[in-house]
């Protein structure tokens, strides 16, 4: 049924970040939200996850308005999501294996053998097999992102959210993350929402792209439509990214 965002507004310390934003995310698609820094892309994600409560408007996930749910009901909806955080957000106190197994232990009734099998499987998907016993502090930035992606994938979520997945990575690693997003979408048909200001990444992985500017989605369309946009602020944004 997908995600519907209606008239979403949010202010912080009197500053209006989202100003009645509307957005639909369809099942099985990769939608990328682009926009400059501080435009509210991460704030939008945190509303979708139910971490932030909206000042106004609604977020409807699979037909349920999550702004009206209590904590327990919300936790069930949140369990449908996997999220790759900008900072990876791996738990420092746990090793790679325990990080990836975390969601499986809390969201499923799998026994330890099945958990081990699934952890090995998802670590292989992100080319991190054999690193199960490493501590998080010993991983490089790229390795952390891949382990975080494995953790997000482990519970087979219905929706995957990627917050700046290629930021801070070298071009080869960034490309491998882009390939992973594409492969995962093809293999699992997971609906993915990517937030980024990396235009190369956006054009490569997206079915549709939405441009967030001044608290609203100013334009939404396919990669071709966005490349040929007439909206000046979007054209400037794309050109600043040095994309043809």
């Amino acid at each position: 049924m997908g995600i519907e965002i209606r008239d979403l507004s949010k202010s912080f310390n009197g500053k209006e970040v989202l100003k009645g934003l509307n957005l639909d995310i369809h099942d099985g698609e990769v939608l990328t939200v682009i926009g400059g820094s501080g435009q509210g892309k991460s704030v939008l994600f945190k509303h979708v996850l139910g971490i932030f409560k909206p000042d106004g408007g609604s977020i409807i996930i699979d037909g349920v308005d999550i702004s009206k749910l209590n904590d327990a009901e919300l936790l069930k909806i949140q369990s449908k999501f996997g999220m790759l955080f900008q900072s990876a957000a791996l738990f420092d106190s746990l090793n790679v294996y325990e990080n990836v197994a975390f969601g499986l232990r809390h969201l499923t009734s799998m026994n330890e053998i099945a958990i081990k099998r699934r952890v090995t499987e998802v670590l292989a998907m992100v080319s991190m097999q054999g690193n199960e016993l490493l501590s998080v502090s010993s991983l490089s930035g790229g390795m952390k992102k891949r382990v975080a992606l494995a953790r997000a994938l482990a519970t087979s979520p219905k929706y995957l959210l990627y917050d700046e997945p290629t930021t801070g990575l070298d071009p080869l690693l960034a490309e491998s993350i882009n390939d992973l997003i594409l492969d995962l979408n093809k293999q699992t048909k997971i609906s993915s929402v990517v937030v980024t200001h990396d235009m190369h990444s956006a054009f490569k992985v997206s079915h549709r792209i939405a441009f967030l500017h001044d608290g609203l989605i100013q334009e939404i369309g396919t990669v071709g439509e966005i490349k040929n946009t007439k909206l000046e602020s979007l054209r400037n944004f794309i050109n600043a990214g040095n994309i043809e």
């Binding site: 945190k46 996850l49 971490i51 949140q78 900072s87 738990f91 975390f102 809390h106």
Partner: protein, 254 residues
């Protein structure tokens, strides 16, 4: 001024909500026992030597000052055992130990939770089917409630022992006399100290967890949150101590 009041009352409200959610989760039995035991070990192992050392020297100095003062007034060091025993068990054991634990374990907890907050680890918990209050706060609340009374008892014993050492070797008070005075304390005196300790444990846990969970702004924010947590908890411990003592005395406890 209005904004300051609004902010303060807002924080009190949020901290109270966190406190309520935590107690609610404990009552419902939503307890992560592995984390709870880890936290008990963290608080206990890290603070036990400090609590004992602190209690030992406090007992010694209490005996020394009381003995010398009474010697100058009454020509002999009387009531040293009583002064050391009551002071330690009713007041100094619970208060000093709680303050030491605030600085040692409470500060470390705020810094750890604050770092989890600014690195989005708390947000990650939501997507992994885990309510942060249950994963983060419940184990720490239980750990403080269980471990702090033990630390206070160790500190009390160390204080009474420290007082004994000074009484024997500095003030020349016989062991039997000192011990007779210590034995005059009843169970209600111990109960008085431990009841206050439980309230102090709740204060340290609430303040440490709350300040950690509302941390913003990277490393600087973690530093500010930690300082704020320690200062707030210490002030609350000292002010609550007076009101709790008044209440317990009026109820005939201790």
């Amino acid at each position: 001024m209005n904004k300051y009041m609004e902010k303060t009352f807002g924080e009190i409200g949020e901290a109270s909500e966190l406190f309520y959610k935590t107690l609610h989760a404990i009552i419902r039995g939503h307890i992560n026992w592995k984390n709870t035991i880890d936290q008990m070990l963290f608080i206990g192992v890290n603070s036990v030597s400090l609590a004992i050392l602190c209690g030992f020297f406090t007992g010694m100095v209490l005996a020394l000052q009381t003995g010398e003062t009474f010697r100058s007034v009454f020509n002999e060091p009387i009531y040293v055992g009583l002064a050391v025993g009551y002071s330690m068990v009713l007041e100094l054991g619970p208060v000093l130990t709680s303050i030491v634990v605030t600085g040692r374990a409470g500060a470390a907890m705020t810094a750890e939770i604050g770092t989890m907050k600014v690195t989005e680890q708390i947000d990650a918990l939501y997507t992994l089917g885990t309510e942060p209050v249950e994963y983060i706060c419940v184990p720490r609340f239980i750990a403080f409630m269980v471990v702090l009374p033990f630390l206070v008892v160790f500190s009390n014993c160390a204080g009474i022992f420290g007082g004994l050492i000074v009484s024997l070797y500095k003030l020349s008070i016989p062991f039997s006399k000192y011990w007779e005075e210590i034995k005059q304390m009843g169970l209600s005196d111990l109960f008085h100290g431990l009841l206050k300790t439980l309230v102090f444990a709740l204060i340290i846990a609430s303040i440490s967890c709350y300040n950690g969970l509302v941390t913003e702004g990277g490393a600087e924010g973690v530093g500010k949150a930690t300082t704020k947590a320690v200062v707030t908890a210490m002030v609350l411990i000292l002010t609550t101590d007076f009101f709790m003592s008044s209440l317990l005395i009026s109820m005939g406890i201790g």
